[in-house]
Symmetry: C2
Subunit: 508 residues, 2 copies
Amino acid sequence: MYIMNPLDPKEFRRQGHMIIDFLADYYQNVANYPVLSQVEPGYLAKLMPPFAPLNPEPIETILQDLQHQIIPGITHWQSPNYFAYFPSSGSTAGFLGEMLSTGLNVVGFNWMSSPAATELESTVMDWLGQALKLPKDFLFSGCGGGVVLGTTCEALLVTLVAARDKLLGQIGRENAGKLVVYVSDQTHCAVQKAAHIIGIDPENFRVIRTKRSTLFTLLPESLLSSVQKDVQNGLVPCYLCVTVGTTSTTAIDPLGPLCKVAKEYGMWVHVDAAYAGSACICPEFRHLIDGVEDADSFSLNAHKWFLTNLDCCCLWVKDPPSLIRSLSTHPVYLENNASESKQVVDYKDWQITLSRRFRALKVWLVLRSYGVANLRNFLRCHVEMAKTFEELVKQDKRFEIFVPRNLAVVLFRLLPSAVANIGNGRLQNGSVKIEDVANEINRRLLDSINGSGTVFMTHATVGGHLVIRCAIGATLTEKTNVIMAWKVVQEHADTILNNEIKSKFGIY
Amino acid sequence: MYIMNPLDPKEFRRQGHMIIDFLADYYQNVANYPVLSQVEPGYLAKLMPPFAPLNPEPIETILQDLQHQIIPGITHWQSPNYFAYFPSSGSTAGFLGEMLSTGLNVVGFNWMSSPAATELESTVMDWLGQALKLPKDFLFSGCGGGVVLGTTCEALLVTLVAARDKLLGQIGRENAGKLVVYVSDQTHCAVQKAAHIIGIDPENFRVIRTKRSTLFTLLPESLLSSVQKDVQNGLVPCYLCVTVGTTSTTAIDPLGPLCKVAKEYGMWVHVDAAYAGSACICPEFRHLIDGVEDADSFSLNAHKWFLTNLDCCCLWVKDPPSLIRSLSTHPVYLENNASESKQVVDYKDWQITLSRRFRALKVWLVLRSYGVANLRNFLRCHVEMAKTFEELVKQDKRFEIFVPRNLAVVLFRLLPSAVANIGNGRLQNGSVKIEDVANEINRRLLDSINGSGTVFMTHATVGGHLVIRCAIGATLTEKTNVIMAWKVVQEHADTILNNEIKSKFGIY
């Protein structure tokens, strides 16, 4: 038996419609699944045959296995009861864009390989940059430009390489060991990984401490004193990552003052607005990136909170030639007249990989299908829901809001005072500290709610405190889900605290 | 106006079905489009509004613009008349897998974030590894393992970092400047880019010459003499990239003997089988990777010639801990019991980025929908078509097969003897060389056929010769397309050669 045509239009149509229906049903029912998958490690290996099949299997069989073997092992990021990490905000438009990209299946490494892929990307990056009111020098319509990458990790890696090479071009390769990269202890771990990859000496990776009293933001004076010390020691400041919306607590580093310090020392400043960047299309949140005019590069993940299915990181740079100098390749097999004319963008020289998907279609469909005004309302709606959740937490005196809410992530915990009745013996004889008991109980609370499958939240550990994060932004989440989520938290807290008290008094 | 629900199942279903029909129609008609897009640089900017729309637009309008504005700027990699670069081999199963990945939209950075995403990936990588008869120590069922990345560029970068760090762990970071990376002049440019990114001294990037007489393969004796010289100069051999199916001519580097040299000097050997790897599921081609048992890592692009839509690079390594040591991160916000148990794979530590799509679904659907036996036949069919094309070239004495065909890429050119009647004046007075005239005419021939839009081929420049590449492997290509393609080449050759002769004799 031989497949005559694996792209037979009739069969493509039949099977494609089946998958659309499968996914539409999935969205209809996703609220009924346990949000966090409850399977055990190795569950799937037990269900799978040891070898790939020799002969074709019908799509109907495969879809049955998908439903019965794969779906139970899915953690449902699209569930309305998903409040973990950051959202992975899918949408119909984002999905359609990816379908088109996958269906056309062009490999847009350079302009010639599909001019529309390159030109649409430049267009939508300018559109989105304008919606964010990025300074004109980040746009193609200025003298900068934007590129759609997969993830922020890539944006960090390419800007780090560009920053490194730009500086070494001035001071000489032999000084590579002197370059210093600055982050805060709240910066995403991807910067450290990227710095390691490009060969920054681990001794020169500067992690600056933040404090709860200053909301876990990177303080310009802390940066300055760190930089001054390094310069005195003969080191060379190279790169600063400023975060607008940190992973643990959505802290907003003060961009303007930090840029001022960095610029004085000739550093490249990258603004990682992976999460919070999307919200900056709303005038009332745009101030979060005030000062971006002094940065060198800026990125956000449209797959986090901009209705664009994974993966989609938008990166703008002021000086594309500095990226291109570091990342361009000129193999003879890719030579072509368009590239030689220098009239076109060849995006392969803006990224790590050569091959690239036509991701701009996703951004184009999202912007056109929903419109900027509508997208603003959508984001505002999440922020409103987060306010609702925050108010509910505040009404329960056993809990505290750990840091003031920015945007749509609420950080809360059971207060040490609420757990003071617990493990009293251990507390009184001094063998444990009240904060440790609080951390332990908050972790048990989180494990308990996640184990129930009704909601999924994750934790942050900041300043020694374990805190529960409720990140609102899944596309299907509505106010009722948020109210229910809080009810779940309270019920599990009741059970845990009551059981502890019962156990203290020997009641089983 | 406000979108109530951007994932409304009813609207998702309606629009999803529209896109399926759009793409099915596209496949039906794709042979009618000019294969290489004929637009001019900047064509799209003229058609696009300067700003993103403020208000939603209906999908019907967007699809009209897609058809009239975007499709003309597409180079049709899915056309049956596409013979350029390497194929981008899409299929219904590959497409469905990507739809499911996009629809479920999970962010599978670690096991817990979606156990099925991790476990299915480990399963299909073992399945595919077994189908390739990779040694057991590359499989999870041995003590190695595989990961699905986006592209070979990533596979090269992660293995280079692992190789660098493994070696520096032995000889000390202070010797980073001594590490040497070895490639041939036919190796993909991605290795040089990756070496640059990780900070290998450009002086220590060794590009070993190949020759036409030895089929542009990397000779073990050339490697050995290069390595010996470096070692004598106090340098430290670090990494060798062996290519099975080079980009320009699909040369097959002799894996076994090269590994022998590399192992003697403690180098990491990566096998880049981006193109040719897929064919090794056929017993008659498996010998191309004989010797892989002595390599450290092996990768192929399933999106090139394995019916898996872009992007999908399969990488196997013998020693996963060496990857993980270089690429792991342990942020507190990702701590979880499963990771701490060390019973699970966390694929974030096998790659550059944190976030990752559920690409294993594509591989799973391709393997199950088509079956291994059928996939073998599919690849064989392309090889047969390439044989047909090769035979046709051989029958026309104006042309030569430039290097013996491996698999499904044919390299050919108009012979210098065929162009000897051209530019004779210049040839006779010695102002040009016959080989330069041949290169010029072959380039004009290629531009002419590509400009016609009827087929798309690309060139290679090897050993000073410009050669035309006919890469067969687009999913829709049938024997009639191949025969037609050769007819197109001949017709354009006739025209060019006749015009030249007319112009020589002053006939216009």
